[in-house]
């Protein structure tokens, strides 16, 4: 299970900046994007438990959920595979003359794959309405950034494709939101793709089984102080949008929703064995 501890601001920030009919091809730490697109805790937990009521009906697990009606593309494990796909979605918008935008991204590790580069290049050549991001959390599983690439800022990769690359504080939800808003506006205006590097830190292991002993303690201590949720609360507080009691109340409400979702998921039926045979081929294709 991939979590987004310490990285919550990214998906929340960019997904909030999009219009309802824009499309997201989220990364595997972007749970916030699913929630903003209306995936309920019940559906999500049913997915994780392999239940028939999950978005993939038990055919896939984890964060691999999608729904074209809600403008969310299901994640493919093969990192960066969805970047060319997102480019093609933007191409469809361009061909049909729609003012819609696609938002997609991958981790620092994922930016090493050819598909990342092929997608960025194609999108830039055709000035497609797509925004790419990298959640630079400094590690790809156990591999630190210095063994992943010979550059300090992933944003530098954008130069090779003739598109702007911007470095953004990934732990500041307002900064993520504002940078995304600018990039989205640029894409919508027909000026082409932008690449956003959200600098952040993965606070848990790669996946929950991983104690991540390879990450220096001091580094985690340093980033703990920059916790994005704390930061957001402070900001809202300063702006007069809420005091501690208000955040506490939200916390309680969310807890209840998740508990209700868990109950729904646990009580939902598992698929029957023979359902494995269903859905290999489509009978029809829609328009989105």
């Amino acid at each position: 299970m991939y979590t987004s501890y310490g990285m919550e601001a990214i998906a929340i920030g960019y997904a909030s900046a999009l219009e309802r009919d824009d499309v997201i091809a989220p990364f595997h730490r972007d749970m916030g994007a699913f929630l903003i697109r209306g995936f309920t805790p019940g559906e999500i937990l049913a997915q994780y438990l392999g239940k028939r009521t999950g978005p993939s009906k038990g055919k896939d697990g984890n964060v691999h959920m999608g729904d074209l009606n809600r403008g969310v593309i299901s994640f493919v494990s093969h990192l960066a595979d969805n970047l060319p796909v997102a480019t093609g979605i933007a191409l469809a918008f361009k061909i049909r003359g729609e003012r819609r935008v696609t938002f997609t991204g991958t981790g620092d590790g994922g930016t090493s794959r050819g598909d990342f580069h092929e997608a960025m290049n194609f999108a830039a050549v055709r000035k497609l309405p797509v925004v790419f991001f990298c959640n630079n959390n400094q590690y790809a599983y156990s591999t630190p950034q210095r063994l992943q690439m010979a550059i300090h800022d992933v944003a530098d990769r954008a130069k090779a494709y003739g598109m702007p690359g911007e470095i953004v504080d990934g732990n500041d939800v307002a900064a993520v939101y504002l940078a995304s808003t600018r990039a989205i506006a640029r894409a919508r205006a027909g000026e082409g793709p932008t690449f956003l590097e959200f600098k952040t830190m993965r606070m848990h292991g790669h996946s929950e089984h991983d104690p991540a002993k390879y990450v220096p303690r001091e580094l985690l201590e340093e980033w703990k102080k920059k916790d994005p949720i704390l930061k957001a609360e402070q900001l809202l507080n300063q702006l007069g949008y809420g005091a501690d009691a208000y955040f506490h109340e939200i916390g309680e409400r969310v807890k209840k929703e998740v508990e209700a979702g868990l109950e729904f998921a646990e009580q939902s039926p598992l698929p029957e064995g023979p359902e494995v045979l269903e859905g290999v081929f489509a009978e029809e294709a829609g328009s989105y």
Partner: protein, 332 residues
């Protein structure tokens, strides 16, 4: 003008049949668009899309960067939104660069989350044209093993046109293998009205009672030549043209073998793990009681496709290979 000359005027090559199918589908359905390397101003490496750019414009005849994984992925994205991309591989060999997008993304999308991917990948494949190891491959076997893809490989202008139209109208990813050797070598008069050849239906190209040769694409013509030789020896060979590799028309295959009791599986793809191996296994499972002899396979050796003429000639199945296999089987 006699009827004969009128007919001759209307004959089209296998290549022209493909071109016609694309043109007619693009006219019929504005969601259909083309992507690939050098398909625009240049008209494609084999000139299939000559004149298309002028007719349909640069957003429906899209020259792509040299990046097969990137543009196949992009086609998947456009298909998810409801467009009908038709991608051209300059040569089928380069499809390996897009292997991941085809097998992991396109093939699995509908199964995983119910999202249809209505797209076609056209792949000029096959040898006999001195293309060497990187311009002659028959890569269909790689994809034959990936649930979620449909695979077609026509042998005649009629099937080429009808199957391409069916592929474009299909809501699934379809790999369309077109044979380079056939492009300008075979011609036929095609119906003037719109038609499709349904995906999943084999075609008996020559009916016979003694031996079934089950094959597809260019090898169909080799089998038909062999059948003529064998006819003089009173061996009546049936030639089953699969036309579609996935989903296989098992009914037609079994029907033919149950009638003749003898089967030869012929293809241009390497022998080991090829489509012939799968059909041999199916026949052993489903037609064992009807068989009067061993199931034989004729296919190239397990080597890359070589360049030099004597090597390539040795590599490729020949009419004489089919004739001797048939004689051997006839003795049972």
């Amino acid at each position: 003008m006699t009827t004969e000359t009128v007919q001759r005027q209307q004959e089209v090559t296998y290549l022209e049949a493909i071109s016609q199918a694309l043109d007619e589908e693009m006219t019929r359905d504005e969601r259909v668009f083309l992507m690939g390397e050098d398909i625009g101003a240049y008209g494609g490496a084999f000139k299939i899309t000559e004149g298309f750019l002028q007719k349909y414009g640069e957003w429906r005849v899209l020259d792509t960067p040299l990046a097969e994984s990137g543009f196949v992925g992009a086609a998947i994205g456009a298909a998810l939104m409801g467009l009908r991309p038709v991608v051209e591989m300059q040569f089928a060999d380069f499809i390996s660069c897009a292997f991941d997008q085809i097998t992991e993304v396109a093939a699995k999308n509908h199964y995983r989350w119910g999202a249809a991917v209505p797209m076609v990948i056209r792949a000029p494949f096959g040898g006999g044209v001195h293309g060497g190891p990187f311009h002659s491959e028959c890569p269909e076997g790689w994809f034959f093993h990936s649930p979620g893809l449909k695979i077609v490989a026509p042998s005649t202008p009629y099937d080429a046109k009808g199957l391409l139209k069916a592929a474009i109208r299909d809501p699934n990813p379809v790999l369309y293998f077109e044979h380079k050797f056939l492009y300008r070598r075979i011609k036929a008069v095609l119906p003037s009205e719109d038609y499709i050849v349904p995906i999943g239906k084999a075609d008996v190209k020559r009916a016979g009672n003694d031996i079934s040769v089950i094959t597809y694409s260019a090898m169909v013509h080799l089998a038909l030549e062999a059948a003529q030789v064998l006819a003089k020896e009173d061996i009546d060979m049936e030639v089953v043209d699969l036309r579609t590799l996935i989903p296989l028309d098992k009914e037609t295959i079994y029907g033919s073998v149950r009638k003749t009791s003898k089967a030869i599986l012929l293809h241009e793809d390497n022998k080991t793990g090829g489509i012939g191996a799968e059909i041999a296994a199916l026949l052993a499972e489903e037609c064992f009681d009807y068989l009067d002899g061993p199931i034989l396979r004729i296919a190239p050796p397990d080597t890359p496709v070589p360049f030099s003429t004597p090597l390539e000639e040795y590599f490729h199945p020949k009419t004489s290979d089919i004739v001797s296999a048939a004689r051997k089987l006839a003795a049972y």
